[in-house]
């Protein structure tokens, strides 16, 4: 092994201990029964109505929060990419700043804001408006997830929009394209790779989310992440927890290449 490769040593040790070994363990527990015999029973458990419903809810929440993030982030990223760097830098900083605070603290803070006797309702009451019952609903989970994941959607789109050559946009205008056409035919297709990485960064963690659902959704809404977590921590059924994790992983593995493919071939022709 040459010296440069040796530099990867610390990471290889880390990866072996904390990525590869755990994956093998999940595979082992997921695919074996109590006596150690091979079984598909844990995988099939996804068909259980409670588990299926949880997976469906997770998918809905992940798709919903991804869509909301996209709708908020794209126009903002577009405006920021065209503003001068001093203004856009400040706004980007405002987005990154909360990420320096612990994730749990931020979600707990959000709970304080959204609670029935929380800050938001206090403000509404002050203006004589009716209270909102936001906590322990799908809405609360969505708000939490959008709040948490918005920067991951914003930054890749902002970066790719900044990288688009101004001359290319000028060339399109020069060839007769008005503002809307320039956006539809040039800016949007060229920004799709950024949109795709944003979508992946939000959708994939989103589908296995359980902490936000726990805190903001209470025990009313069960996501697949909650089910898995409970199998490990409460029911102590590592087999079932691992089996459901494998099913979830399958979803992620299937969606990744799909998005990559969409990204490469879709870059333009789809919108042409």
């Amino acid at each position: 092994m040459n010296k440069q490769k040796l530099l990867a040593g610390p990471y290889l040790v880390w990866a072996a201990g904390f990525i590869i070994l755990p994956l093998i363990m999940v595979l082992y527990y997921g695919l074996t029964g109590d006596g150690g015999q091979l079984t598909l029973e844990h995988l099939a458990a996804i068909a259980d109505p409670i588990h299926a419903k949880a997976l469906w809810e997770s998918l809905l929440i992940a798709v919903g929060s991804t869509a909301i993030c996209l709708v908020i982030a794209y126009p903002l990223a577009y405006i920021l990419s065209r503003a001068n760097i001093r203004q856009s830098g400040t706004v980007i900083m405002l987005f990154i700043l909360p990420m320096w605070i612990n994730f749990l603290l931020r979600i707990l803070a959000l709970q304080m804001i959204l609670a029935n006797t929380g800050i938001l309702n206090a403000i509404l009451q002050f203006f004589g408006l009716p209270r909102l019952h936001l906590m322990y609903s799908h809405g609360a989970i969505l708000i939490g997830m959008v709040y948490e994941y918005l920067p991951f959607m914003l930054l890749p789109i902002y970066n790719i929009l900044c990288k688009i050559d101004r001359d290319v946009i000028d060339a399109a205008r020069d060839l007769g394209a008005d503002g809307a056409t320039v956006f539809r035919r040039i800016i949007l297709p060229l920004s799709l790779p950024g949109v795709m990485s944003g979508v992946i960064m939000v959708f994939i963690p989103g589908i296995s989310e359980f902490v936000i659902a726990d805190i903001l959704g209470g025990s009313k809404i069960l996501l697949i992440g909650n089910v898995i977590e409970q199998e490990f921590s409460l029911a102590n059924d590592w087999g079932l927890g691992s089996g459901l994790s494998l099913v979830l992983m399958l979803f992620i593995f299937v969606s990744m290449p799909l998005m990559n493919k969409y990204d490469k071939t879709g870059e333009g022709q789809i919108l042409w």
Binding site: D165, D167, V168, D170, A171, A172, R173, D174, L175, G176, A177, D178, T181, R185, I186, P189, L190, E267, G268, W272
Partner: protein
């Protein structure tokens, strides 16, 4: 070439962040002309082109195109097309889609577009490249595609912003001939921006030398080279010896204490002037045989000629000759009257700053 003006820039001024880039610039461009805006970076030539293209709105002044005021018209409504320095091809489209872009927007039929694409590719010698991606092409090929993409829209004027700037020397020279051929075949007006004086002299019908937002001189390449109007033009176009002189009377100028016969007339007597002598016009001979004696202080071989520096009369003369005189050789300097160019000294300190700053 018709004498009819196609474009008139009328008293154009433009400042960016309080810094004046163009100051009261007026310029008239005729139909079918190959006009080059030439100058060092920051002289305002690119801003002038961007004002023509519609990407920059002037602070003052008007742009008249074919008798119509287009000062406020956005780029997509103007009947002229631009070729950008870095090609600016659309990276997510193939060559055919790139060329078709303008035609599709103007709603041309598929058959028409197909014909136009093959015509344009033939014109730029890139037949069969329809399905290729821009990134798979060399710089020169990409620039040809950028030209093809612009001309299929049949603009009255093609704006070219240093289109050969990123190409290597050999390719640049080839493309110069290519552009002249294209211009003649298309019969449209080319407005070309460059900082390369050789490019400007080779291709243009008219050269506009600019510096610091002002037009320094406008004329045919021969005029600009042979009859520079001020020290800046003389210095920027080719190499020059620029020497202080006094115009003693018509057809006689005193340089470095020696009287040189010249052909210029009409200057007041004893007027201080700038005298320009091109290095290839300085004739070296045996000592005592010329107007001025000196000693060779530097000798460099340049390929087509030798370049020498000669110390004579307290001035360092730049000389180009096919005959080498070794360093230390005593020589005489002679210049035939026709090759001495007399220019007025800059009238004000402002103009002087313009002239000396490059």
């Amino acid at each position: 070439m018709s004498k009819k003006p196609l474009i008139d820039l009328v008293h154009i001024s433009k400042a960016f962040d309080g810094e004046t880039v163009l100051d009261d610039l007026s310029l008239s461009i005729r139909e079918n002309e190959f006009l080059t805006l030439l100058g060092p970076s920051g002289c305002g030539k690119t801003t002038t082109l961007r004002i023509l293209g519609g990407f920059v709105t002037p602070d003052e002044g008007r742009v008249i195109f074919d008798g119509e005021d287009i000062t406020m018209l956005p780029p997509n409504k103007r009947n002229l097309n631009t070729v950008f320095q870095k090609y600016a091809l659309f990276p997510h489209m193939n060559i055919a889609e790139n060329i078709a872009f303008g035609l599709k927007i103007s709603g041309k039929s598929d058959a028409y577009i197909r014909d136009k694409i093959s015509y344009a590719l033939k014109l730029v010698n890139l037949e069969g490249y329809e399905k290729r991606n821009p990134t798979s092409l060399s710089g020169g090929q990409q620039q040809r595609i950028a030209i093809a993409r612009a001309i299929v829209n049949e603009p009255k004027v093609l704006l070219l912003d240093e289109p050969l700037g990123a190409l290597d020397l050999k390719l640049r020279q080839e493309m110069q001939y290519e552009l002249i051929r294209l211009k003649n075949e298309l019969g449209i007006t080319f407005i070309y921006v460059t900082h390369d004086q050789e490019e400007a002299l080779t291709m243009s019908d008219t050269v506009v030398v600019m510096n610091q937002g002002y037009i320094q001189q406008m004329g045919t390449p021969e005029d600009i080279y042979n009859e520079p109007e001020n020290a800046f033009v003389a210095d920027f176009i080719g190499d020059s010896n620029i020497i202080d002189g006094i115009m003693l009377r018509d057809e006689l100028v005193e340089i470095l204490g020696v009287r040189f016969p010249c052909v210029d007339t009409g200057f007041p007597k004893n007027l201080p002037v700038d005298v320009v002598i091109r290095p290839e016009d300085v004739i070296l001979g045996d000592p005592g045989k010329g107007l001025l004696d000196g000693v060779v202080s530097h000798l460099i071989f340049k390929g087509v000629h030798y370049e020498m520096e000669v110390q004579a009369g307290g001035f360092e003369w730049l000389v180009q000759s096919t005959v080498a005189h070794p360093v230390g050789t005593p020589v005489s300097i002679n210049v035939i009257p026709f090759n001495i160019q007399i220019m007025n000294k800059p009238a004000s300190e402002d103009e002087k700053a313009v002239a000396l700053d490059e």
